[in-house]
């Protein structure tokens, strides 16, 4: 059955602990230094996640959504990637200034990640059981046998049939959906408080995608985890997210709770994105398109990065960069956000 219950997520902006949110990314800047020049991939991203809620980070390829996640996890390839500013606070402590050993402990136990392509994320020459139990051996000091026992339990939890025998199989012996379940089991091994899912279902078929999204929602609810769901799929987001952050050219251009965002998007990019989507339940004639191409991150347009493609562009958009400002219980980085909110 599907989950239609209203979840217990805290309301927007509500503080769980004194001093802030469970995970708080603030004004993050990341650049890639390549032979051809410097690509500014993230240009001041701020967001936060609390226990029990799902934040969806939405964006097209090159918008910086995955790089933000990699930076949070501390798995950014350096070089070419360099963090040039900002902070990532987990339980109030800045991960970026933390000593390496301490940060290593946060990975897996504090924040865990599920990757898009499970086949390349798993090691092909070790059995699935070995790879999961490795976490228990290295981090919990368990014996090989105990670790395997825990691994079976985990595979059971993610509903892999006959977990006891499957544990001896290698990743290539699993189907795409089952592999993604193994990835999820692995990420849950050390009971993380936050799970980052980076396009967890992009490589899967729709019926399998539905199974995996259900599983993630169920686990999130059971464990009261915070979840960051990174995706480009506006359909998946509408199904599971509590709040949404829309990214464009390394910035968040709009942030709102899921219902307000779909009912009345308040940034021209979000509006255009929703309009350009073919819908199963609506048969339209011509799709609205966003003209032009996503910007080259080595030469981000002046002013608002979206202005060359925007249908509402005016002079101020070319010269002045709009900040992400709150309007009511949401935020939009557009000079004309007030107008957009006020429209019928």
């Amino acid at each position: 059955m599907t989950d239609i219950k209203v979840n217990t997520a805290p309301v927007l902006g509500a503080d769980k602990k004194a001093g802030g949110h469970l995970l708080e990314v603030e004004n993050l800047h990341v650049e890639f230094r390549t032979r051809d020049g410097i690509a500014k991939v993230i240009n001041g991203v701020s967001y936060h996640v609390d226990a029990g809620e799902t934040l969806a980070v939405l964006g097209e390829s090159g918008s910086g959504k995955s790089v933000t996640a990699q930076t949070i996890m501390g798995i950014l390839d350096t070089p070419p990637g360099f963090v040039t500013g900002g902070s990532i606070r987990f339980r109030g402590k800045d991960l970026l200034t933390m000593p390496k050993d301490e940060r290593r402990l946060v990975r897996g136990e504090g924040i865990a990640m599920v990757f898009q392509d499970a086949l390349s994320a798993l090691n092909p020459v070790f059995t699935v059981g070995f790879q999961i139990s490795e976490l228990f051996r290295k981090r919990r000091g368990m014996s090989r046998a105990d670790g395997m026992k825990r691994a079976v339990e985990l595979l059971d939890q993610v509903k892999i049939p006959a977990a006891k025998t499957r544990i001896k199989d290698y990743p290539h012996q699993f189907s795409g959906g089952m592999r993604q379940r193994v990835m999820i089991a692995m990420s849950l091994a050390l009971d993380p408080e936050i799970l980052i899912a980076d396009e967890p279902t992009t490589a899967l078929d729709v019926t399998v995608q539905a199974q995996i999204m259900d599983l993630l929602a169920e686990i999130r609810r059971e464990r009261n985890m915070g979840m960051i769901l990174i995706t480009h799929d506006l359909g998946v987001v509408a199904d599971v997210a509590d709040r949404i952050a829309v990214m464009y050219a390394g910035r968040i251009v709009e942030q709102a709770d899921v219902h307000s965002l779909y009912a009345k998007p308040c940034h021209p990019y979000t509006m255009a994105l929703l309009d350009s989507l073919p819908r199963l339940d609506l048969k339209g004639q011509e799709l609205n398109t966003i003209k032009g191409l996503p910007p080259n991150l080595m030469r981000i347009p002046s002013g608002c990065a979206f202005h060359p493609r925007c249908s509402m562009v005016r002079d101020i958009c070319r010269s002045e960069r709009p900040a992400l400002l709150p309007i009511g219980n949401r935020a939009s980085a557009c000079h004309f956000a007030e107008e957009l909110v006020g429209r019928e």
Binding site: T2, D205, V206, Q209, A210, Q211, L277, D281, I290, L293
Partner: protein
């Protein structure tokens, strides 16, 4: 309806599974396409949907004559494609062209755009005289919305959407009547996807093209197709006009597939019925007896294991549906 341009009957493609190093012996068959029949009418778009492994891309290759079918026939304007002499086959290929899925690997990185789009003229020399080719290529680039002055650039200088346009220009070069599009937009971002779909739409009107549009994204197919065929494990399980398939699907698999598509509307969470399928698609090397969907079907009964349901119109299904217990059910709740 208008005339049938492409007629496919009982098309079968089995790939042998071989084992052994020196003396290879065949130990089984992958039944990729197992008895598919369809008609394509002039000027229409026939969408083919299905999950990975259902045989839709093999079907595209068979239609393009890139694979030789194990059995069955393909007739183009009444002529059996498979029985033609090699010369006739080559001439006939002009009329059926392919747009491939991945715009990054389907263009040769060492050829300029002009060479790529102009290559069909090298093979079919009588279409355009040598001196005329450059102009023709530029015309084609203009038609698909690329700058004709970029004729000397290489594929890596273009974005994904632009590359897909190059692939479309190449397919259009010989003025075909049928274009087989194999997942043409699945590698593209949402904002670019809409541009390419609109382009395919306008080209169809301009050149009176017929499309076979293969995709796994049901929303995309709904948008572009006039008729839709749903495939499962090498078989066509349901075939009908797009309204019939999307508003009153009668095959359980189609219903489950449609209900699993996430709708970009958070208010739909409450009243959405999602049919959850258990497990994975069985191996095409050893498909279930009788109805191939029965292992995952909630309606399955004894007859499903013993008797294979035919793709036909029945009392409860106004369009062809291959299920013993076909019954219409609205799962999308179109607004």
């Amino acid at each position: 309806m208008s005339e049938v341009i492409l007629e496919v009957r009982d098309l079968v493609k089995h790939f042998p599974i071989r084992q052994g190093v020196l003396f290879k012996k065949t130990v089984g068959q992958i039944k990729a396409v197992d008895g598919v029949s369809l008609d394509l009418y002039k000027g229409e778009t026939l969408g083919i949907v299905g999950e990975s492994g259902c045989g839709k891309s093999t079907l595209a290759k068979l239609l393009m004559n890139l694979e030789t079918p194990t059995a069955g026939s393909i007739r183009y304007q009444g002529r059996d494609v498979l029985r033609l002499s090699p010369g006739d086959q080559r001439r006939l290929r002009r009329n059926i062209q392919l747009v491939m899925q991945d715009p990054y690997t389907s263009l040769n990185p060492r050829m300029t755009v002009g060479d790529i789009v102009g290559e069909p003229f090298e093979i079919h020399t009588d279409v355009a005289p040598k001196g005329d080719r450059r102009r023709k290529v530029q015309e084609l680039l203009d038609v698909v919305g690329l700058n004709p002055e970029h004729i000397n650039r290489y594929p890596h200088q273009f974005s994904g959407g632009q590359r897909q346009r190059i692939g479309i220009a190449r397919a259009l070069a010989l003025r075909p009547e049928v274009i087989v599009c194999d997942e043409p937009v699945s590698a593209l971002d949402v904002s670019i996807q809409a541009q390419v779909m609109n382009l395919l739409d306008s080209l169809q009107n301009e050149f009176n093209l017929s499309y076979i549009f293969i995709a796994h994204d049901l929303s995309v197919v709904r948008h572009i197709a006039d008729r839709v065929g749903v495939m499962y494990l090498g078989k066509m399980v349901e075939l009908g006009k797009d309204d019939e398939i999307y508003d009153s699907p009668t095959h359980p698999y189609t219903q489950a597939l449609l209900s699993a598509v996430p709708v970009p509307d958070p208010t739909a969470r409450q009243h959405k019925t999602v049919i959850r399928l258990e497990g994975d698609v069985p191996s095409p090397a050893n498909p279930p007896s009788g109805c191939r969907f029965r292992t995952r079907c909630w309606k399955a009964q004894e007859i499903c294991a013993t008797q294979e349901p035919l793709l036909q119109i029945s009392a409860r299904s106004a369009h062809p549906s291959a299920c013993h217990f076909a019954e219409a059910r609205d799962v999308v709740h179109a607004g």
